[in-house]
């Protein structure tokens, strides 16, 4: 399992609000899973305002990452194993939320 810091990643948004990051995922991804704060992704417990939207595009994972001094980043990282794990957990989807 990869740690966030070690991922080969693209920063899609930086210095964003958490809401902006969620809205971006909802506007740009067709496959979305919703998790609660504390959910483990890439060995980190997620920080966020529930529900936290995670987008998948094949093996690409789009997720928010909040740091106290820098606000929220929206990160896109390719990781087949973690994408498969997310799909296998029976998490809430966009359809469930609506």
């Amino acid at each position: 399992m990869a740690c966030v810091e070690d991922l080969n990643k693209e920063i899609v948004l930086s210095g964003a609000s958490f809401k902006e990051a969620r809205e971006y995922v909802e506007a740009h991804c067709t496959e979305i899973y919703y998790v609660n704060p504390g959910f483990r992704l890439f060995e980190k417990h997620m920080i966020g305002i529930p529900p936290i939207a995670i987008g998948l595009e094949g093996d690409m994972i789009l997720f928010p990452f909040t740091k106290p001094c820098y606000g929220t980043f929206l990160i896109r990282a390719e990781h087949a194993e973690e994408a498969a794990r997310l799909r296998s957990l029976g998490l809430k989807t966009t359809k469930d939320k609506k």
């Binding site: 609000s17 958490f18 809401k19 609660n36 704060p37 504390g38 483990r40 980190k44 417990h45 997620m46 920080i47 966020g48 305002i49 529930p50 909040t66 740091k67 106290p68 001094c69 820098y70 606000g71 929220t72």
Partner: protein
Amino acid sequence: MTEDVNKQEHATLFLGCPEVPVQMGISLYLSHMLRKSGRQVTIAANPSVIKLARVADPERHYMDKMIDLDRCIGDIAEKKRSTDMAILFAHNDAGITYAATVRYLHPGRLVLVLFGRHAEELVSSVDFPCEMIVEKAVHDPVGLKKKLDEVFQWPA
């Protein structure tokens, strides 16, 4: 408390980015007063805040137990750690995001201290139950101190 051996109430102060000067001074004061009133206190903070606290209080008269902010939240999520009272300091959207995270994970008393230039604007982004203290404090901690004193009613 999983880490405590007695029945003392335990408070955790969650401190974010230290860029607003008032946070360090008021959190030292609050930690001191909470301890003086018989509570155990843990400071959960990012590495910069922990360094500031260790330099400001080398003998740990005011802040004793300190833990990395994300580690503390991870421990709470994994039920390895709990607290009776969570007190969060927030002056930006990230601070509110951390507060919402703690609110989700911690069922007990939660006091949210909104401070800094945008304190009043941040109020509308808080949509979870908590006690809120709002003060547009940046450099001067006196107004914030007065409000904390009112909320906690320290014993004489």
